[in-house]
Amino acid sequence: MDMPSPDARVMAKKARVIERLQSVLPTDAVIHDPAETRAYECDALTAYRCPPLCAVLPSNTDEVAAVLRICHEEEVPVVPRGSGTSLAGGALPTADCVILGVARLNAVLETDYPNRIIRVQSGRTNLSVTGAVEEDGFFYAPDPSSQLACAIAGNIAMNSGGAHCLKYGVTTNNLLGVKMVQMDGTIVDLGGAHMDAPGLDLLGLICGSEGQLGVVTEATLRILPKPEGARPVLIAFDDNAVAGACVADIIKAGVLPVAIEFMDRLCIETTEAFAQAGYPDCNALLIVEVEGSDAEIDHQLDLISTIAARHDPVEIRQSRSAEESARIWLGRKSAFGAIGQISDYMCLDGTIPVSALPEVLSRIGELTEQYGLRVGNVFHAGDGNMHPLILYDANKPGDLELCEAMGADILRLCVNVGGCLTGEHGVGIEKRDLMTSQFSTEDLEAQMVVKDVFDPKWLLNPAKVFPLASSQSRRHGG
C-alpha cells in the first residue's frame, strides 16, 4: 500500500509548526519527541506504520479549532484519530502530518431521558456511552466489536456498525447531531436533539466521511430503552448454502432478529479448540438472537426453530437461560481471538446480497486453493456483512502481499455479486485503491467534490478513501 511521500516544505518547518501548536495548547498536549510519537505510528492495521510530525491532544472544541487554524495556515496535513482501532488504516499517519487525537475529549455533557438522547464529547468510548445510561435502563445501540476501546469520533468517521444493526441500524441511524470543526477552524453545529435535518442532510454526509470533512468534537446520540431480555438459538448445518437459505426463510417469515451470525467450519473448529463453547461438529453454524419478554422470546425462538427444522439441521439448541446464552455466544465472541492464536490474519469486511452467500463462499473456497492461504468466515448474515479472515504468516516474505492480493480478489467478488467493498470498517488506505472496482470515475468525482467544499486544500486525512491517482491533483504535495 503506497502512501504519498512527505512534503519537504512541511518537514522543513517542523520546529515552527510545533512552536505554534505549543502556543495554543498546554505543554503536555503537544507530543513531538520521536520516542513518543511512535505511539501514534499506526492504528489496528498494524502492517503499516509511520510516525507523524507530531501529535496533539486538545481538551476542548476551541483548542481543536486553534490547532486546525494553525495547520490550515501552515498547510500541514492533519490526521484525526479516535482510539486508533481502525482496521482499515483510517488513522495511519504520514511523516508530514499532525495527528489530532480526541482522547481527552471524553466527557458526558448531557443525558436527557425524556427526549432519549445523550450528548458526549467525541473521544468517549462507545461502551462507556452505554455505561453512562444503563443503570437507568437505556443503551446506545451501535456495538462494533472494538466497543470497549473505540471512540465515538471514530464510529462517526467510519459509520460503524456491529452485531445488532439488523434491528437497530448503524451509527448514522443513531446520530442526531454533531459539533464539528472545519479545517479552517470554523465551528459548525449540524443537527441537534431533534429528529431531522432542516435543509440538506449534512449530518448524514459527515457520518462515514472518514475524518476527511471535519473534526467532530461533540455528538448527540439517540439512546434506546433496554429490551426486557434477549436469548439466542444456535442452529448447526452440514452445508453453507443451506444455512444461507435458512437465513432468508427466517427473514421472509416476518421475524426480525436482533442479530444473525454465521460461522464456517474453520472458525467453528478453531474457536472450539480455543474456548470450548461446546459447538456441534458441523460445517456451518448460525446464532440467531431475539429480544422481548420471556414469553415473546420463546415464541420467536420456536418460530425460528420450526423454520430451521425444515432445512435438515445437524442440531438446534435454543437457549433457556442467561447461562446457556453466554455459552452460545462464547465461541462467536472468541472467534477473532481464537484465529489470532493460530495465525496472523487479515479481516475483510465486504457486504453481499444475502442471496449470493452460497456462490460467494464457494468462490472463496476456489481462491483458497488458488492462493494456498486458508480463510475462515465469520459473517453478520442478516445484513450480508461478511468478515472473511485470511490466514497468513507475517514473518514469511511475500505472504502479506499474497494475502492482500487474495483479499482484493474477494472484495472484487463482493462488488461483482451486487455488494460493496466495506460494510462497517471503512475504506481507509486498505481499500482505497479498490474503489475503482465499485465506482466509475464520475462516481468518485461526485464524492471528491464534497471534500472540495469542506476542505478545499485537501489537508484533512488526505491520502485515504480515494485512489491516490484519483486524488493526486487535489492533494497538497502530491
Binding site: 436527557d112 432519549r116 459548525v188 415473546e296 450480508g384 465499485q438 466509475s440 461526485a446
Partner: protein
C-alpha cells in the same frame, strides 16, 4: 419533458439551458419553483426485489402504491410509513417513489425505525452536468466512500434528478393495537409519550390529536396483547385508556401519517421539528389555529392564520420550521441556516449543479 430512460433523461439535462422544475407525481408542491417541468414519471418499474434480503430497487417514477402492492404480496412494507401529501394539498395525482425520497417523506413509525433516509440504501441520479452518478448500493451495510445517499434524501431535487432508488424494506406485522389517552394537556401528553417511548415495549407511534394521545404497539399477536397490558399498567397515572385494535388502529395512524386533522384547515401549514420536551412551549408561543403532534412531540404540524412567520416565535428553541403549504405567508420555505452551514450547503449545490438549473432557489 418526460423521458422514459435514464439515458434520455441525462441527455435532456445536458441539452437544457434554462431552469428545470423536477416533478414526479406532482403531489408534493412544497415551495415555489419557476422553470420548465422535467418529469420522472416515465421512469417506472421495480428492477429488483429480494424479500429474503429485505431489499427493493425501483425506478424513480414508480408509483408508491405499486411498490406497496408488490411488498404486500410478500407480507412486507416500507416501514418508515411515507406520508401522502395529497390530502394536505387537496390535490389528486400519483405519488412516486422518487418524490417520496426527494422529500424524505416519513411517517409516525420514524420514532421506532427511522426516517426514509434511514431506509435508503442507494441512488442513481443525473447531476447538473448531465452525468449519471451512483452512490450506495443494494446492501444494508455499506460504508464504501461518502454517503451521498443520505444527502440526496430530502434534497428536494436541488442536487440532481434521481432516476433509481434502492430501499430497505421490513416485514409486515401480524397485529397492531393503539392505546388512547383522552383529555391530556400538551405537556402531559408529551410526558406520557416520553414514558411510553422510554419503555421496553417498542412503541412504534406516539402522537397527539384532538382525539387523544395515541400510542401504537405492533408485532406478533400474543406479544401485542402482552405489551398492551404492560403499557396500560405503566401509563395508569395519566387516566383512562381506551384500546383500539386492527383496522381501527390502522385508521388512527393513517390519519396521523397524512396529517388529516389539518386537511380542511385554512391558513399556512407548517412542519416544526424540535426535541419533544420543547413542543408545549412552541405551541404556547405560536398558538396555532390547529395542530398535531407526532414523533412523541418531536414533530409538530400546525395550521397558522394570517400569514404569520412562526420562526421568530420559536425564539431560542433549537429546531426548525418548514413552510409546507403556503397560503399567505411570505418567508422562505426552508428554515434559514446559520451562515457557516449555509456556505456548505450552497457549496454542495454549486458542485452538484454548477449551472444552478435544478429547482433553483427552492432550498436556498
Amino acid at each position: 419533458m418526460q423521458p422514459t430512460t435514464e439515458q434520455d433523461l441525462a441527455e435532456v439535462v445536458r441539452g437544457v439551458d434554462e431552469p428545470i422544475r423536477i416533478v414526479g407525481g406532482g403531489t408534493r408542491p412544497i415551495g415555489e419553483v419557476d422553470g420548465v417541468a422535467l418529469s420522472v414519471a416515465g421512469l417506472t418499474g421495480v428492477t429488483l426485489y429480494e424479500p429474503g434480503a429485505l431489499t427493493l430497487v425501483a425506478q424513480a417514477g414508480t408509483p408508491v402504491a405499486d411498490i406497496e402492492a408488490v411488498l404486500a404480496a410478500e407480507n412486507q412494507r416500507l416501514a418508515f410509513e411515507p406520508l401522502d401529501h395529497r390530502g394536505l394539498f387537496g390535490r389528486g395525482g400519483t405519488p412516486t417513489i422518487g418524490g417520496m425520497v426527494a422529500t424524505n417523506a416519513s411517517g409516525p413509525r420514524r420514532v421506532a425505525v427511522g426516517a426514509c433516509r434511514d431506509h435508503l440504501l442507494g441512488v442513481r441520479y443525473v447531476d447538473g452536468a448531465g452525468q449519471v452518478i451512483k452512490n450506495g448500493g443494494r446492501v444494508m451495510k455499506n460504508v464504501t466512500g461518502y454517503d451521498l445517499v443520505k444527502l440526496m434524501a430530502g434534497s428536494f431535487g436541488t442536487l440532481g434528478v434521481m432516476t433509481e432508488v434502492s430501499l430497505k424494506v421490513l416485514p409486515q406485522v401480524e397485529a397492531e393495537a393503539t392505546l388512547v389517552l383522552v383529555g391530556l394537556a400538551t405537556a402531559q401528553a408529551v410526558e406520557a409519550m416520553s414514558v411510553a417511548l422510554g419503555s421496553p415495549y417498542e412503541v412504534t407511534g406516539a402522537a397527539q390529536t384532538s382525539g387523544g394521545t395515541a400510542l401504537r404497539l405492533e408485532g406478533f399477536d400474543a406479544s401485542v396483547t402482552y405489551r398492551v397490558d404492560a403499557l396500560k399498567a405503566m401509563l395508569g397515572k395519566f387516566g383512562e385508556i381506551a384500546v383500539h385494535e386492527g383496522a381501527a388502529s390502522t385508521a388512527i395512524w393513517r390519519d396521523v401519517r397524512d396529517v388529516a386533522p389539518l386537511h380542511k384547515t385554512k391558513g399556512d401549514v407548517w412542519r416544526v421539528s424540535v426535541k419533544p420536551s420543547d413542543a408545549p412551549q412552541v405551541i404556547s408561543n405560536i398558538s396555532p389555529a390547529a395542530h398535531l403532534l407526532d414523533w412523541g412531540g418531536g414533530l409538530i404540524w400546525m395550521a397558522v392564520d394570517g400569514g404569520r412567520d412562526i420562526r421568530p416565535l420559536m425564539q431560542d428553541i433549537p429546531g426548525h420550521a418548514t413552510l409546507i403549504r403556503r397560503e399567505t405567508a411570505t418567508g422562505p420555505t426552508f428554515h434559514p441556516e446559520p451562515a457557516a452551514v449555509a456556505a456548505l450547503s450552497d457549496g454542495l449545490r454549486h458542485k452538484f449543479d454548477p449551472r444552478g438549473i435544478f429547482n433553483p432557489g427552492l432550498m436556498a
